[in-house]
């Protein structure tokens, strides 16, 4: 996507039929349309047979409209919503393996506690921290942990949910379409 003064980070949610190859279709579209995706997370939604994807992309409003309309054209994608301006609750989970011996372990544990993370594994040389939080919160924790030496890290990417009732209905449009049928 073109660099633009109005570029900002957008959080989008897409609902799609849970069928083989759907993720490939979405990923292929992002690649061939030259859309840059920062993170992408997919899993079940509340509707059986419908998966829910949260992805984060940088670009202008116009870029995002292209992403949305192009995604909408995929036959298996039932709904796409840009929730950036809907003040969504967004969270990410990270597992972080940090160097920690008898000298540093206490400090690592204290920092983890400040960030509301949990130590879920300890051995003589390292600990594994689990943290669920906003992206910025996880980034801050990582910055501090860098001083001890991060051995391994995995992040899930952002998931998001909008507070008001209407948005929970979005994926239900698929259900009503099912009941009505085409033709």
């Amino acid at each position: 996507m073109s660099a633009h003064m109005n570029n900002k980070q957008h959080t989008m949610i897409a609902w799609m039929e849970d069928k083989p190859g759907v993720l490939n279709r979405v990923a292929g579209l992002f690649r061939r349309r030259n859309f840059n995706i920062e993170s992408l997370t997919v899993g079940h939604s509340e509707t059986p047979g419908i998966s829910r994807m949260t992805f984060v992309a940088n670009g202008s409003d116009r870029d995002m409209k292209q992403i949305k309309t192009q995604l909408d054209k995929l036959i298996n994608v039932t709904e796409v919503e840009d929730v950036t301006n809907s003040d969504p609750i967004s969270r990410e989970l990270a597992l972080i393996k940090v160097k920690a011996n008898s000298e540093t372990r206490t400090e690592v544990m204290q920092i983890t506690e400040i960030f509301r993370g949990h130590i879920i594994h300890v051995d003589m040389e390292s600990v594994i921290i689990q943290i669920v939080g906003k992206v910025a919160q996880i980034n801050s924790l990582l910055q501090l942990l860098n001083n001890f030496g991060i051995l391994e890290m995995v992040r899930t990417g952002r998931i998001a949910m909008v507070r008001d009732q209407d948005h929970s209905q979005l994926s239900k449009t698929a259900v009503s379409a099912h009941q009505n049928g085409h033709q």
Binding site: R25, K65, I75, E79, H182
Partner: protein, 571 residues
């Protein structure tokens, strides 16, 4: 009561349920069970055996463009399927409805690099509107039904159904499904938003220099009559895109031909000067617009199209109108006020007389050149009463400039993908769909050779197709770019050609070589009067180039015009 069928039978019976009468294909191991069922049960479907599977997908494309119906092609796994891809990509870019059925290795070999296995679903993914891999016979009929529905509705496009060999051999109790469930598919077949239509009407009513750009969407929606009503009611000049040629008669007083890279200069002037531009059923691609940020700089742009993703994809749009072109025009025409626009039309007329003389009609040469041949062909086909299927290159632009198309679907050409080799097989498909139509292939010597193996298909089916090869001994359009942008270094563009007359004779096809201007008309007549296919080779002046020309990435306002002193620019 049970109705036990094999997967192969289900394929054919599903096609029959979709009113398919002809398919284009070539068998191989992984599709053999289906081919066996075709013969065994004598299904009433005409199978056209092609020479190369690329031909099959282009034939399905030509059939679809000529008739408006879904074209069907069929191939085996691996190389058979990958050979279809160029034709599918061509159809995808030009929104042509095709259903492609391919055989796939049996389930037991899937993913194990079996003989003639390729990931056809993966390979075809970016060049199809949708595709299926069928590993279970219970999904087969539904996939075919969905494929036809998806291919033919909304913005049409190719859909591929890849069927494992063991699925074709399996059996089940068959009933063709009556309804389908596609919760994520919205073909926008409903009426457009009335507020958008009203805004479009207001813009047009207040315009001083309005202009219509008509694209292929008008033809897909069969809205040519309504387009004409709109233009005539408010006296709005109509330009077309390349694929929109035929949606508005080029001979109509309000026609301003077509615009873009090789469109007529006066049309480009009008595009750049209009104050309201109403584009309908055209995707406004770079070949039409020139550099996006320079296109129609004075205009408020109304973009009417069935595909919401086209809105703002290339240009900043003032008023999008989403929907079927026919429904949009039906709502729009009553809201548009009668108007005259005399000053605007007079201005266009002034541009036209200058530019047409300079770029289009100024062909004072005794040499045999393609523009002359196109004019002659137009005249000899009752002034436009034929379907012309062009290849890609200089001849394609000349055909579009000099053959005045007056009827819908009378020019079939690969606009978006620019696929050389399209013309010959696409013409075969078109003739199969429209057996009574006079059909001409117009191809360059380069593109013709890419798919000329289908000459055997013409002979096999005894189709009365007339072929005009415009032979200048070069990949002409590439050579033209080298002339203009690469210091006339003709890198890889001179061609070694066969003797096209002997080639035709080898296939048993009548043929004639034309080397002189004064033989052209008589040769065209001879081809027309011949009862059967006929190949004409026109050996034209080598170095003639197409004008006007907008350099890629430049504005339509910066056209390279025909050099005033010469019609050719040899060494």
């Amino acid at each position: 009561m049970s109705n036990i069928k094999t997967g192969g039978q289900i394929i054919w019976e599903s096609l029959i349920a979709e009113d398919v009468e002809v398919v284009f294909g070539l068998p191989g191991g992984a599709i053999l069970p289906a081919y066996d069922d075709l013969a065994k049960y004598e299904y009433p479907i005409h199978h056209v055996l092609v020479t190369h599977e690329q031909g099959a997908s282009h034939m399905a494309d030509g059939y679809a463009r000529a008739t408006g119906r879904v074209g069907v092609c069929i191939a085996t796994s691996g190389p058979g399927a990958t050979n279809l891809i160029t034709g599918l990509a061509t159809a995808y870019m030009d929104s042509t409805p095709i259903v492609a059925i391919t055989g796939q290795v049996p389930n037991s070999l899937l993913g194990r690099d079996g003989f003639q296995e390729s990931d056809v679903q993966g390979v075809s993914l970016p060049v199809t509107k949708h595709n299926y891999l069928i590993t279970d016979i219970r999904d087969l009929a539904m996939a075919i039904k969905e494929a036809f529905y998806i291919a033919s509705t909304g913005r049409p496009g190719p859909v591929l159904v890849d069927v494992c060999k063991d699925v074709q051999q399996a059996t089940m109790d068959f009933e063709y499904p009556k309804s389908i469930y596609l919760p994520g598919y919205n073909p926008n077949v409903n009426a457009p938003d009335s507020g958008d239509v009203t805004r479009a009407a207001e813009l047009l009513n207040n315009a001083e220099r309005p202009l219509i750009v008509s694209g292929q969407g008008v033809s897909i929606a069969r809205a040519e009559k309504e387009l004409r009503e709109l233009a005539e009611k408010a006296n709005i000049p109509v330009a077309t895109s390349l694929l929109g040629i035929g949606t508005f008669p080029t001979t109509h007083p309000l026609s301003i031909s077509w615009g873009g890279m090789h469109g007529e200069a006066y049309c480009n002037y009008a595009l750049q000067d209009c104050d309201v531009l109403f584009a309908i059923g055209a995707r406004l691609d770079d070949r039409l617009t020139g550099a996006f940020d320079t296109f129609a700089p004075k205009a408020k742009i109304i973009h009417a199209d069935i595909d919401p993703a086209e809105m703002g994809k290339n240009l900043t749009i003032d008023t999008p109108v989403i929907g079927d072109a026919l429904l949009i025009l039906r709502e729009l025409v009553p809201q548009v006020e009668a108007n005259e626009h005399p000053a605007w039309l007079a201005q266009i007329q002034e541009w036209k007389s200058e530019t047409t003389n300079r770029d289009i009609l100024e062909q004072e040469t005794d040499e045999l050149v393609a523009p002359y041949i196109m004019r002659a062909l137009w005249h000899e086909t009752d002034e436009g009463d034929a379907t012309i299927v062009t290849d890609v290159g200089q001849h394609q632009m000349w055909e579009a400039q000099y053959y005045n198309h007056t009827k819908p679907r009378s020019l079939l050409t690969s606009g978006g993908l620019g696929t050389m080799g399209y013309a010959l097989p696409a013409a075969i498909g078109a003739q199969m769909g429209s057996p009574d139509e006079e059909i001409w292939v117009v191809a360059g010597d380069g593109g013709f050779q890419m798919t000329m193996v289908e000459l055997s298909t013409i002979m096999q089916e005894n189709l009365p197709i007339k072929i005009a090869i415009i032979n200048n001994g070069y990949l002409g359009m590439v050579r033209q770019w080298q002339d203009v942008f690469y210091n006339k270094r003709h890198s890889g563009t001179p061609l070694f050609n066969p003797d096209f007359i002997k080639l035709a004779e080898a296939y048993g096809m009548a043929a004639r070589r034309v080397t002189k201007k004064d033989e052209a008309i008589e040769a065209i007549k001879e081809a027309q009067n011949f009862d059967g296919p006929f190949l004409l080779e026109f050996q034209v002046e080598e170095f003639t180039n197409v004008y006007p020309m907008v350099a890629p990435g430049k504005s339509n306002a910066d056209m390279i015009r025909r050099p005033a002193e010469a019609t050719s620019e040899g060494n």
